[in-house]
């Protein structure tokens, strides 16, 4: 009996371990932190796990976006005008960070290029799957969408603050220049 258990255990071990680790990882992400065990399992069916090698492009700027990614391991760089002389790194993301979330909500092109900075494992959630979830499990869909909207609002608030500070700095430097004249 034990022998049979060992065989079956070995056959399903890899998949179960991977599922457990994904579930554990998802639970620790703010986007899914409030979800119940069963709801997490539904999300698990929805996601796509992908592995990227160092320097591999995840998506390109100005291409149609389909969904968002969460960094499970490794690092991801976000670039404007990647692969051109004007290339500029906008952010570096690490474990638990997510990017490309605007594509979940709108049918527009990507505003930047995402590149794996080292060997990275990402979790992708895509627009068609999310909208399918809204139809199948509206309650869960609303929960995810509300948390996502909350996070986007936080990012917007942060950007507003940064813009205000930038504005203040510009005003101050103008005044200083006028005084200097």
């Amino acid at each position: 009996m034990k022998k049979i258990d060992v065989i079956w255990g070995n056959i399903f071990k890899g998949k179960n371990d991977a599922n457990q680790s994904v579930r554990h990882f998802l639970r620790n992400i703010p986007l899914f932190a409030k979800l119940r065990k069963r709801e997490l399992r539904d999300i698990e069916h929805l996601i796509h796990r992908r592995q990227y090698k160092s320097s591999e492009v995840i998506f390109w700027q100005n291409e149609p976006g389909v969904g968002m990614y969460i960094v499970q391991s490794g690092e991801v760089g976000i670039y404007a005008d990647y692969d051109s002389p004007e290339q500029k790194q906008l952010a570096t993301l690490c474990q638990g960070d997510f990017f490309g979330e605007m594509a979940l909500l709108e049918d527009d092109n990507r505003s930047a290029t995402a590149v794996a900075l080292g060997d990275s494992q990402l979790i992708g959630i895509f627009h068609p799957d999310l909208f399918d979830l809204f139809q199948r499990k509206p309650e869960l869909g609303i929960k995810v969408l509300a948390t996502l909207a909350n996070m986007l609002a936080q990012r917007l608030r942060k950007t507003n603050l940064e813009l205000q500070q930038l504005g203040k700095k510009q005003c101050q430097s103008k005044k200083e220049k006028q005084v200097a004249r």
Binding site: I58, W60, E63, G124, P128, Q135
Partner: protein, 365 residues
């Protein structure tokens, strides 16, 4: 002419890209050869599989709706397939006596009528009602053509008998395939996407989603149009008192899926049976007028509102596809060739859109 320098050897540069190109070409050739070898023998499985795929696309919104009400996927699929099975059984029990009596009457009518008597009847009918055709040359020409068509029709119906065995197999296979495609379709799609390289992964999700959407609405639309036409035909034929209106109306509805030829397939048996029943040319004209009005309603009201112009296929291509489909897969080929060309058209359309918008699909990117 200058001779080649003696010590100059020809060097073939076998770099990685060239080896990959050769590999790709050989894989393509292998797949093409395999497809060419399998295709002629695949009708038994391919036709039910296409039908099951179409059915699963048709039924998927119902499954999703039930999932939204709290049922799990397997439960929702089982419930829907169960309801459909019960509906089919009920229809068979309810309609079987009517249909069998209609077939019995048709058989009895046909027993009394040999092709020769039918031709004779038609000849006297034409001579009596159309004085223009009093010239025996013209009447004989028409009659000989009609005679040939009747014999061809009888021969073709006899040839159809051996196709009953695959039909029974299909009837068993289709519900099973539909059940599993509905239940595991999402998982199959995910497994397929999982196998794709990273550069094509996101674009393929987009591609599949768009194809699913367009195709789903096209197939659901086609089925709805056929249902409308079937109901219109049944009602019109019942009002006109055409015998066996239920069978003819149903055939007209199903045949409507074959563009251009479908309405003719529906109208011809109705005209023949009404003429035999009523024994006058006006009986034919009334049925033809009814089918023309149905066609008009379809072209102006039903199809534009249900199907829109999303998946228009060029008429010339439609005719070619119908002939090729009919030649390769018989009646099923005739019925399925348009949805299948719809699948191919949407795929090509979306693939071209992806090539234009994603650099992963562009050569050399």
């Amino acid at each position: 002419m200058n001779p080649l320098p003696e010590n100059k050897s020809i060097v073939i540069n076998l770099n990685r890209a060239f080896i990959f190109f050769l590999l790709k070409v050989s894989v393509f050739v292998l797949v093409a050869l395999l497809a060419a070898w399998i295709l002629p023998h695949s009708g038994m499985v391919l036709t039910p599989l296409i039908l099951a795929a179409l059915l699963s696309i048709l039924l998927n919104p119902l499954v999703v709706m039930l999932e939204g009400r709290g049922l799990n996927r397997t439960g929702a699929v089982t419930l829907i397939m169960g309801i459909i099975t019960l509906l089919v059984i009920w229809l068979m029990i309810f309609l079987a006596p009517h249909i069998s009596s209609e077939f019995k009457t048709i058989a009895e009518t046909m027993k009394n009528e040999t092709p020769a008597t039918l031709v004779y009847k038609l000849k006297t009918l034409l001579n009596r009602h159309l004085p223009l055709l009093k010239n025996p040359g013209i009447t004989d020409q028409i009659i000989s053509r009609v005679e040939k068509s009747i014999y061809d029709m009888l021969n073709n119906s006899i040839q159809l008998i051996p196709s009953i065995v695959p039909l029974v197999i299909s009837l068993v296979l289709i519900p099973f395939m539909t059940f599993f495609l509905l239940k595991d379709g999402r998982r199959l799609k995910k497994s397929f996407i999982q196998t794709l390289p990273n550069r094509y992964f996101e674009t393929t999700i987009n591609l599949i989603h768009k194809i699913e959407n367009q195709l789903g609405s096209y197939i659901r639309g086609q089925m709805l149009v056929s249902l409308c036409i079937g109901l219109l035909a049944i009602t019109a034929l019942a009002i006109l008192g055409v015998p066996y209106f239920l069978i003819i109306g149903t055939v007209a509805g199903v045949a409507n899926m074959i563009p251009y030829f479908g309405p003719i397939v529906g109208a011809v048996p109705a005209v023949i049976l009404n003429v035999i029943d009523k024994g006058s040319v006006s009986a034919a004209l009334v049925v033809v007028a009814a089918f023309l009005i149905i066609r008009l309603i379809d072209d102006t009201l039903v199809s534009p509102n249900i199907l829109g112009r999303s998946l228009e296929i060029h008429p010339l291509l439609v005719i070619i596809v119908i002939f090729v489909g009919g030649e390769m897969f018989g009646i099923m080929g005739l019925l399925l060739c348009i949805p299948v060309s719809g699948i191919i058209k949407v795929t090509v359309q979306e693939l071209l859109w992806n090539i234009k918008h994603y650099r992963a699909f562009r050569v050399g990117s």
